[in-house]
Subunit: 307 residues, 2 copies
């Protein structure tokens, strides 16, 4: 089976944790444990978020007085692909001795006229109390929005249209290599309509939507979206809350999700299943193996009763 | 012909230039122009330095008060592989429409007991007047050394022993992909003697020595070391200065090089030619095509008179 697994940016850095290198190095051991068993039995592509990491680098770059201007988000996103790609590659190398592993710098084409450029929605960096967030926003020209009870920087998140390195990923995967790619949804670029020339843009693409596109392009059998909750829930946060064990794309889309990150995950899973007839699931990182074997998570399956 | 080309970190950021993203984006156009013609006719692997870039990120990380400790050099090196890899990949993509291009996050194994860990020699970051450098050294726990007339941070530069991703690079190259890899000499890791487990270490490997190892492992025909001078010189800086047009490894090693970066370049070229019987050359980035065709640079060729 060919599996595309998407890891939340929080897999490396949990909400509220200090963004130290040592913290992320410790957290990533859990990722390797969870995913190594899958790599034994299946073709595996791993993609990952970068929200906390790209936000940290953006702050550091904005504070660097040797620069005329902070580095743009495409280059900072590229930096996170290198760093997180290296952490994942070396940890999986240690968990899977002898297994070929490649972390690929990956670019994702978006539309220059995507309306998301005028409406920033993607959370990056740390959470702050409202007043700190407002101060940082004024100082750095940020947009901010409420994330749970705290505030956080938001940046444009245009829709992924095409992954530039798909053929390379396919070639490596077909040759038996575990591929780590499209981190942070891929480095955002626009493509010139006439020449195809790529240009970096200030954005962070949603990694779950890129994972769905990647899974479709690679003709994957399974899209596995890993997060820090074991299921999608009905009536989340109410007394009637109960886990969804399985759902069709339409049922999943009909769910009433809390603000934040479950919406894009549900949309990504639904889209992949509708377009390909494959399976998707949303569940907990630690349960990755159990989810693929139908013993955990929320399974999203094709609607066989549909016309 | 199979060519490994090594770009100086200065190709993206010249000495004294402000380390802005825009400056590096402009400089990299020159790289693409110089290398695209080679990629038309030959199998091409590109590796690059990261001294100015990793030094900048180290300063930013050291100044980040949200961190318990600055990020280690292996993770900062990984960040530069992502960023420079992306800049090279997208610029070459635009110069070579339709040509498959992959930038790979690459790890290089060094010995934990390499004496270089006790003797930092590799320049990173910007140059400073002596007093500024001494102040920064005290504040950040740096080692510093004289670079030309200025001062600069130095970090350990252990010898490259093995490139972890060699098989993947070989597979991509043999399939017709232009591969960008081993940036900054590769992300430095040690390998546990018993388990082979990889662990990041605080170092920056010499990218020319890694390029020579890579060229040897890939059975390349030509190692092309690109820098900002058109040749190796005899009597450099003296009235008798004259360019070396060609040399055997022994002749090249006998040269009296000024302090700084020509020494490792000469050693890398000599080592590749001795070990493989292939050709190497040292010359100017803009003359890459002419160097490969014998019309520029210093050619290093096997000593056919040797026993």
């Amino acid at each position: 089976m060919r599996i595309v697994a998407a890891l939340g940016g929080n897999a490396l850095l949990h909400r509220g944790e200090r963004p130290d290198a040592a913290v992320q190095e410790a957290n990533i051991e859990r990722v390797a444990t969870a995913l190594a068993a899958l790599a034994h039995d299946h073709e595996l592509v791993i993609t990952h978020g970068n929200g906390p990491q790209v936000g940290l680098l953006a702050l550091e770059s904005a504070a660097d007085r040797s620069l005329t201007a902070p580095y743009p988000l495409d280059l900072l996103g590229a930096q996170t692909e290198g760093m997180i790609g290296s952490l994942l590659a070396r940890t999986l190398h240690n968990a899977l001795p002898g297994h070929p592993i490649a972390a690929l710098v990956t670019h994702t084409v978006v539309r220059a006229d995507d309306p998301a450029f005028d409406r920033p929605t993607k959370f990056v960096g740390q959470v702050y109390p409202r007043e700190s967030a407002e101060l940082l926003a004024r100082r750095n020209g940020w947009h901010i929005a409420k994330d749970g009870t705290d505030w956080r920087r938001v940046v444009p998140s245009p829709a992924p249209e095409r992954i530039v390195e798909t053929d390379t990923i396919h070639e490596l995967l077909s040759g038996g290599t575990l591929v780590i790619c499209a981190g942070g949804g891929g480095i955002p670029v626009t493509a010139d309509r006439d020449t195809g020339a790529l240009t970096g843009v200030e954005a962070v693409i949603d990694k779950d939507l890129t994972a769905a596109l990647l899974a479709e392009d690679l003709k994957a059998d399974f899209l596995l979206i890993l997060t820090d909750v074991p299921n999608v829930y009905e009536g989340y946060g109410t007394p009637a809350q109960r886990p969804v064990i399985d759902a069709t794309p339409a049922q999943l889309r009909g769910g009433d999700f809390p603000e934040g990150s479950m919406g894009p995950k549900a949309e990504a899973a639904a889209r992949f299943v509708e377009r390909t007839g494959g399976l998707a699931a949303i569940g907990a990182l630690d349960a990755a193996y159990e989810i693929v074997h139908g013993r955990s998570g929320t399974l999203v399956r094709p609607d066989l009763t549909a016309a």
